[in-house]
């Protein structure tokens, strides 16, 4: 199935973010080979030039490596992957905190709300 994309963000970035999430969740292991540009284009229904840009961007960030004649692989550098995980976390917290502040919550209220919510989650588990 062709995938849906958010309208206001570049498509190459949205595809990179999806791959980052797969890596962080462990669905894609360090050292694992990524689909070729053409395969990824067909999977996602996206122009190959856009996918090429996704791959170049991920390579620039050090998260994947292109080996001549072999393809593109997730880096084996564990430090970079650990940083990636923290970066995704920071991104999510940032947008959460911004949303909460936008509707008028203070720092303390945000922390308390989050604690209450999480302990509520524990009870349900």
């Amino acid at each position: 199935m062709t995938e849906e994309f958010q309208t206001s963000k570049p498509i190459y970035m949205q595809i990179a973010e999806r791959i980052f999430q797969q890596i962080v969740r462990g669905e894609m292991a360090s050292g694992e080979k990524l689909a070729s540009v053409r395969e990824m284009a067909i999977q996602t229904g996206v122009n190959p030039n856009t996918i090429q840009r996704t791959y170049s961007e991920m390579e620039r960030m050090g998260i994947v490596e292109t080996r001549r004649g072999q393809g593109t692989f997730v880096t084996e550098n564990k430090e970079i992957l650990a940083e990636l995980k923290i970066r995704l976390q920071t991104d999510i917290i940032e947008s959460f905190v911004k949303n909460m502040k936008d509707i008028g919550f203070s720092k303390d209220e945000i922390v308390r709300g989050l604690q209450d919510y999480l302990s509520g989650c524990d009870n349900h588990d």
């Binding site: 994309f5 498509i11 856009t50």
Partner: protein, 239 residues
Amino acid sequence: MIELRNVSKKYGKDFTLKDVSISFHPGKIYGLLGPNGSGKSTTLKMICGLVYPNKGEIYVDGENVNRGISRKVAYLTELDMFYEPFTVEHMIEFYATQFPDFDIRKANILVKDLKLDLTKKVKQLSKGNRGRLKLVLALSRKAPILLLDEPFSGLDPMVRDSMVKSLLSYIDFEKQTVIIATHEIDEIEPLLDEVLAIYNGNLIDIQNVETLREEYGLSVLRWFKNIVEENEIYGGEKE
């Protein structure tokens, strides 16, 4: 590469296209966008030599366009241009006799991918399957230029998805220049590199799809609506 130089086309007194200059380059997929009657189809017909401009010139790989340019240009028309009693297989054989660059092997792979029945007659095909057959015939040529006029029009999302996948699988991105004319913008946005807005015969804007998103936070549809609105307010009639 396709080049339009100051091209105008009139049917009677009405301009279908007004003084349009633009080039299209290999390795890219262009979306030619506009409401019905804006001049999209006429532009494609002029590039493949079915219609001649009243003013200006059109070049395909440096060659001035005439009827013979169909050698280099594969064209999917929005109309049904099939012989109804022919089977899918007959259509493929017929195309192979008309175009030396037609690749029967590729056509048969595409027929399989798109789940068409070779023995079915054209008149027995559903609208979706006629759409698929048209795409098979256009994609099976090794032409440097591929023009698709409303290839997804009236087709359900499943058919559209399978056609998009075939396009992405079989376009030769090293060599081919691809132009897709459509008014169904949303569906094919991720497929496009560049978008051109045509309105009332005027080429009103050209943008890169990812630049629109990155720099202006706009989807192609949003951009297109904005720009058409501007033209309606300030008048597209800049003579």
